[in-house]
Amino acid sequence: MNPLETPNSRLLLSLLDASAQRARVIAGNVANQNTPGYRRQVLDFEDKLREALSRGRSTDALAAIAPSVSEDLLTPARADGNNVNLELEMSAMRQNRLMYEMYSTLHASRMNLIQAAIETR
């Protein structure tokens, strides 16, 4: 098996990608925090993944799961119809960045292991 193209490394890359996409969704919400009638958007990926994992699907099937963006209709809106909560967005942004750093660290350590394997030959 090619160690660079395992299901796990593909999963890790799609988690990195979803995290980068979520940062953009949050940026759109923060930019529209004062736009009347704007509904905040959310990116769903990890929950979908978790659900698929709990159903015991194969890692190949997991790689086919794509992130999706939807409007948050549950969070109550202010008088102007906007439901962006700045504190919520800023903490989501921080949390998202930490996840991004974690995924990139995992990816880098995988690469380091492969590199070490190549060099010890």
Partner: protein, 143 residues
């Protein structure tokens, strides 16, 4: 996999937020500057300006929309807030009974809006900072 172009689209979303909030601060500054202007070329006192914001949306193939940022779609005059009528017979714009119509600018309200705009500006600036840190992190993966 998303390319570098879309990575920076979030950066641009925050930039659009920065310029929209700056436009709001400009409008607030004009309103406060004209809080005592009783005579305009259109006749009557100054009417406060308000900005209209709208999201920049991109419609995706699957019918969902994605927010790319915010834009100022127009500057309007506030026709709802009434002018204040004060008694000042010495004023050059006073009517026969000595009453003057003052602009519908409420300085306290403008100052409150100014603080909101400044906080929103700061939030957009820290979103940009967040993208810088993520990009640096992504670059370090390649080392």
């Amino acid at each position: 996999m998303d390319g570098i172009k879309s990575f920076f689209s979030g950066f641009r979303a925050a930039a659009s937020g920065l310029s929209a909030e700056r436009a709001r601060v400009d409008v607030i500054a004009r309103n406060i500057a004209n809080a005592q202007t009783t005579h305009t070329p259109d006749g009557g006192p100054y009417r406060r300006e308000v900005l209209r914001f709208a999201p920049i949306l991109e419609r995706l193939g699957d019918g969902t929309t994605r927010t790319l940022g915010v834009q100022v779609t127009g500057v309007e005059r506030d026709a709802e807030t009434p002018f204040e009528r004060i008694h000042d017979p010495d004023h050059p714009d006073a009517d026969a009974e000595g009453f003057v119509l003052m602009p519908n600018v409420n300085t306290a309200r403008e100052m409150a809006d100014l603080i909101t705009a400044m906080r929103a500006y700061e939030a957009n600036a820290s979103v940009q900072e967040n993208f810088v840190q993520m990009a640096e992190r992504a670059l370090r993966m390649a080392q």
